[in-house]
Symmetry: C3
Subunit: 214 residues, 3 copies
């Protein structure tokens, strides 16, 4: 088998990233519609959902520039996506959108976990902290979205494995690196396990245990 | 016409800044009273409303010291203002205060937008990001105030143009700079447009569209 | 009287720190149980309660590495404590735990106030800002815990002196340093006064005044 062409790999990764950011942003728009925010609120919550996790990770790692500063095209993309969505979805039901973003959201969970964990390792973090950086990248955007919308974060109470999949996937990335894999392989291991677990959890309706159980 | 005396300009700017900080702090005190916080909570929310936006901007720009660290007199001012307000307003209605702070709040919106945008440009941010830094400086103090008070931020759902005025004003500051204006002129352009738009919006009861409209 | 053996002093301090972190973490677990979070949410809120205040202080001081990065054993400790607590408290009442953590929580309030204030001084902060860093270290973990759980922070509305004790204790630490005390003495002064005041407040059911009083 030939190694994949690095250029088409780059393009594929970029497309996955754009799809993931769009999915996270749409989750924010949907929550904003549910809470009857105005257009400004919808755009703010959408941006927070898409960029909040990576930004928090970068603040914790003391890493600059943020990726949305380096690539400010992403911010324009988000503003455009938000405005187009708001015009296009004026009178349609939002439910189909909610289902349509489940898979790009899963891709995003995997991708952001993988890149967050590797960035943590690159900044010299111990393994557990690097994995937490991956989880924070993938999960905290949604957490901040829910806090601003005055809800207990769904990642903390919906009893569906989400952060847990990221946690396991992050360890796969750490393990791959310590077994001598290069960075691309470690990214693939982390994203692969996260996406597999999350898909299985969605498919099999796995439940995170409640507490206190009685 | 003679150029303005730089010293009296400085003094005027300082007075506007103090009035704006006082207006933001009072908005926090009012929200705290509404939510029946204790004295500690009222002072904390008041400080968050006044300094939260600028502090978040400085964390994002990785800029130190914060202006309330460099000028810790502002923190004393805030503590004093809070205690005096709480003693003085014990038995009076808060409604007149709410109306009295609309205009200093508008000044603050303009001033903080203008300085935040220029600081963004000074730190080498692309134009859109610099404008967002201006909006964050002006708006996020109130957003944090509302989050701590367990409300959806009013800037995101009251359908009144607030962040939008800051957004437009920030672009005026960027445009002025790129057209060769010096920093004072760019500050004036940004603050001027923000304040004009906000005043017009208050006067004309402009509305930000709701979404989804149906 | 002989000076205390520095090694046993270190051990004592470490034990106090562990007890304090455990108390803060348990306060998060209890809040999570009250809000019916899942296991992921309970661990996240517990970690936020234990490490949120110190992390926010370090972000504000631009100080790295965070203490939970430098000593990532604390994160393992927290995960273990959380899981064991959740298994062990499955069917028991949580009320006895709430009472059991009042005293370690008071120790933590004193310890974190003292260390936060001294770190502020070491980073060249003016006295008031150093004291605020102490208060933030001790109080903001609980504030973030309550915000994530969609409650107005109890430190801001329960009318019991908590942040006020930390504020007074921080000043004792600043005063001790400016009177020529070494760092250990300043830590003892700050922690001692904070713990004394908080104990007296609990004992005597002191109340922070409400506002507006009418």
């Amino acid at each position: 088998m030939l190694p994949p062409d690095p250029l088409s790999l780059q393009t594929a990764l970029l497309l996955v990233e754009i799809a993931a950011i769009a999915a996270f942003a749409l989750s924010g728009l949907m929550e904003a519609a549910h809470k009857r925010l105005d257009v400004v609120g919808a755009l703010a919550v959408s941006g927070l959902a898409a960029f909040g996790g990576g930004t928090l990770r970068d603040v914790l790692l003391d890493r600059r520039p943020f990726f949305w500063v380096e690539h400010s095209g992403y911010v324009w993309f988000l503003l455009g996506l938000g405005l187009i969505t708001m015009l296009w979805l004026r009178r349609r039901h939002l439910r189909p959108t909610r289902r349509a973003i489940v898979w790009p959201d899963t891709l995003g969970l995997g991708l952001f976990t993988a890149t967050g964990t590797q960035l943590g390792l690159q900044h010299g973090m111990p393994p557990l902290i690097a994995v937490l950086m991956g989880v924070i990248t993938a999960v905290m955007g949604g957490v901040l979205r829910d806090i601003v919308c005055n809800e207990i974060p769904s990642a903390f109470r919906d009893h569906r494995p989400y952060a847990l999949c990221a946690f396991a996937g992050g360890w796969a990335g750490v393990a791959a690196r310590s077994l001598g894999a290069d960075e691309a392989q470690a990214l693939a291991a982390a994203a692969g396990l996260t996406i597999t677990l999350r898909s299985a959890a969605l498919w099999g309706r796995w439940r995170v245990p409640a507490w206190p159980a009685d």
